[in-house]
Symmetry: D5
Subunit: 153 residues, 10 copies
């Protein structure tokens, strides 16, 4: 199903306005002064917009500010996570496959480089870049998250 | 359960020898002239070693080369994917959470930057780096995969 | 449930118009100058129509072009995958059974003929043909996908 | 896990002997006078060998014929289906993805070309071929199955 | 949930009209000149009605013929399978239990009587009869399906 | 996996002895004076043998009677149900498909013929017969179970 | 979700009327001359009301009799089973826990007292009673079901 | 699979000794001065034996007391719950069906008789009795559990 | 999806009124004279409000009292449990992770400190506090539940 | 199954030695100078012991230090998470129930007290205490975890 079908309805409105204006997340991110993935996450209910974000979105998209505030304003907190446990869309499945196949190797290397702990997915910046390559351009996805050490003393 | 409990037994031997010698995947990768995540993947049955890889592992770890060839030699092909559909280990779960939470935003941005297609998880290099940071060092995981365009004419 | 119940509503309109006009995917594919499975995939939200596809569909089916553009135009990207993880419809289940029963033999043969890698399901043409046979005509389904070699250096 | 870990142990022996002799399924199929996918299916317990098949395998692989008969002889019937409901190995997953993404389009076309019925996965020949292509060779997988019409009078 | 809640709405109308007229599937089957289970399957979207079936249903039930054609006419193909993977209703669960408990014994006997193959569920007639018995009448359910032999040469 | 891998080991012995003697369930059923499906169910741990059954099996198969009694004698009660919730083997899956597709139609007809209740799967005889047919012989599976009326007064 | 959200809408009306009138299932059961659990089951679509039940409910609750007949009259048959496979509500989960923890001990004792067979859940009376106890009153739930012997001769 | 296959091995020994001596749980319960279901639960690892229970079991069954203490002595705590989430054995499934079908009616009645709370499955006595009945003897299973009131002030 | 989408609609109204008034659960709890988690649970349908709670909520939030009574008044009982079996939202997942990782250690310690039994989740107070810490403030969640001893005599 | 059946075998040895010596986790924790839940987690493979922990365990339990080092020494990293996704043991299930029932209320309160973020389960201390109470002693479980703020700028 469409990924925003169960999100607050105003987010559907934002998607429509963005499509109507022909804006990309990249340009909206610049307008908001925000990270691009963070900006896209706002549209999928996966991040909490600040009032500045809401003002910026309202202005850039021509959507009534109060309407946005009413649904995803300061009282609203994202219920993060979209879709079933195993993604079916091929773009997202490939990321999932990366976890299933390379999860244990990555885990071992994190432990060897940092010790016992995890890469935070909360204090984490995500980037998606296009890298030109004569054999075919490449997608470069970066997760840059703070290492958190297990502490149980 | 231990992640290599269902892998070819020789891989368990390689893990033991590596532990006994106190080697890291980073140093082994340098010895083999290979990417670090690729090197770790060999130990988890998630990549297919070349004969050069096997010779290098045998020498570095002091494990009989023919024994490695017998189990994961040229006749052997990895059955990729370890563990259940939803990871329970917190290190690996955080990566999974990244897919569940940021999958749709990432997908949208890939489409906006490249069009209809995917980032290949086959022609993909994975890196795990340590980035010093005064507020706490950071894990930087990079997926660098070729963009593949949908072709259905 | 009906397979298009969760797709963009315009696709339901396209199905209705096609039924009303008594058109087959085969004839629509010829009209569009497209592969037949690709054409059917458009109706199930499993492929992204070009603006030419949309113009062609609008003309052939008598559905307002702008209405199609509004829902599945250039801003729209398919969320591929329909239905539950294990198909229940017998036609589709038989394909699934082919994967469950012949998946490992097929994998082994791909490796023997090509080495370590996969058949792309992105750069892949799918055909469904009718082959006359005195003992009963046969369905011939062909997946013709580019081999992608694992690259982890 | 290794795909033959729960199959009759003699099949594991056949895999080992095949690896030791350096034989491919293609050459074994020619020796047996059999389809290549069928031949590979014998090694994964997904097809029932005839006594001629067993004699041929015994001779080609140097494995005691009676030992094969004892485990997978005329009294034995395959319990078809290997692995979990959703494949994790990328090669097999891509086939599964083909079913999830193109299943409904394929179903519609089968109905339009044949009426209400299915493509048999029992009376079905499966082939895996290598098609040279200057942009990269292609895997061509063909399912050629008898159409079976629903009959409920 | 009610089993027809996700079926084409006209089928719900047919159920209502049948209830209002107090007709049984047995009498409707005679009117249509059809098998009783087939007739019931039409009401649950599990079989494809012919135009004669639709005309007969329209007449017997007093439901507008064109309305039926619009939803489940010649352009419509059943998406077979209703409900979750494991039935909860006790009547249907008992059938499922029959498969879970007696499936392997039945499979063995089919193989011993016919060889390697299956009973077709496509070319299969299903009957439900009432057999008088002084100790309590009995339900007799019969699956009469063509044997299909595995063919992989 | 092989269906008897988790059953009492003596049942595996009975399967082997039956294979070695080349006996069918049909002939064993005649020897025991029992229904054929019941007889096969004994071999899969899905029915409880009487001491007469055990004596008969011991004699017919040449397996030590006390050994059978020790494992599946009067103290032993079957834990019925084999395999996962959704069968993968095509023979058994077709039966399951019968339940998923025809379950609701069958349920409706049982109610119309008998009222509110079920067909017992406990007081139920199961038969598998071969019916000659010039267009291809047919498998006829019959479930003959007592109707049980819901009683809640 | 509310347990009656997918039941015939009239049942929701009955719940509302019962709440509005402040009636308990206990008093309604007395009015109907019925078992209390049976009476509650009518409100959850888990039992089939007789016409006398419907008349009684109509009178006691002030709900139009024909409206009840239209939805759950003689043409209607319960589709028994509410909610997911594993209950989440703590009251119902405790019953489920009773099955998971004490199921095998109960099974063993049934076999020792009765032989090979089951307690019918069809011919079964269920009662819920309050037993005064100085240490805290107790709930006493009784399942009183006919023993059914396995019959496979 | 056999229900004790994953329990402490000594429990398997207790089952064997009980079978060898031909003792019932009923007689063992009398010997121990314990409830019958409790006694059976000890054999399935679903209750924690006291040292008196162990001494009594050792004497009644002729199994070395220290051996029992070593495995399920005072240091051992039951990990309650046996088997998958949905029982397949028909005896246990019927109990599960009772929960799925009558769970909500029972819950409503508990609330009406006691208020907001649950029947404890911890402070709960379970009994299985045989009730003679000319129409066929009946199994009577009783859960007698303390009512626990929700307390959140 | 939003967590209250399947709850009684009045609860959605309460959430809206609370947001509009800018009230926190902490302040509402003080107004009601109630525990904070209990107060929040009322808004998610996870606790049963008393009539005093309803009066207090009505007054504090300006929502019609009768409207609240109509939906969640004395006739209404919570159906506890929200969302799927495995939480996806990171806040709630972390709690789940606590159970998966520390469940067995906690169980062992409860047994060592109390014997065989459980911590009640019914007679249990839950608190969420903010603890200042120079290295970053901490969340302190406390479950304070009555120990219940297993009683099976 | 026993919770340590799939853990490194040395942990089973530690459990046995602890039982043989009659030591509690509380006393071991004091010996090690460690938190009690952390200490218990070491025995279940849910925490990584330091070399000091290992030395302390070896001494307190009389288990060979090198043997512990060989299996869970500095090269070893815990694969955290034990058992299935939904716990069956009642002690652990009650914790799970706390998450399912109170997860959303807790989440709301965390957000109101801290803003958008989570309670870390990595930098988290867990305590299990016994609180005397005349109405029955109480278990007090405390999760004390650092608040982590979402950072996506």
């Amino acid at each position: 199903a469409e990924p925003f079908s169960q999100l607050p309805p105003i987010l559907h409105r934002l998607h429509e306005a963005k499509a109507f204006k022909g804006l990309s997340f990249e340009s909206l991110a610049k307008t908001l002064g925000r990270n691009e993935v963070y900006t896209a996450s706002l549209f999928y209910g996966q991040a909490k917009p600040t009032l500045e974000d809401i003002a910026g979105l309202s202005k850039a998209l021509g959507v009534d500010e109060q309407g946005i505030i009413d649904e995803v304003g300061s009282h609203w907190w994202p219920n993060r996570g979209i879709g079933g446990a195993i993604p079916q869309d091929p773009v997202i499945y490939r990321l999932y496959e990366g976890v299933i196949v390379y999860g244990h190797p990555i885990k071992s290397i994190i432990h060897e480089k940092f010790g016992d702990g995890i890469m935070s997915m909360i204090d984490c910046k995500v980037n998606v870049d296009r890298k030109p390559d004569p054999k075919g351009d490449r997608v470069v996805i970066t997760f840059d998250g703070k290492f958190l050490s297990y502490s149980q003393n």
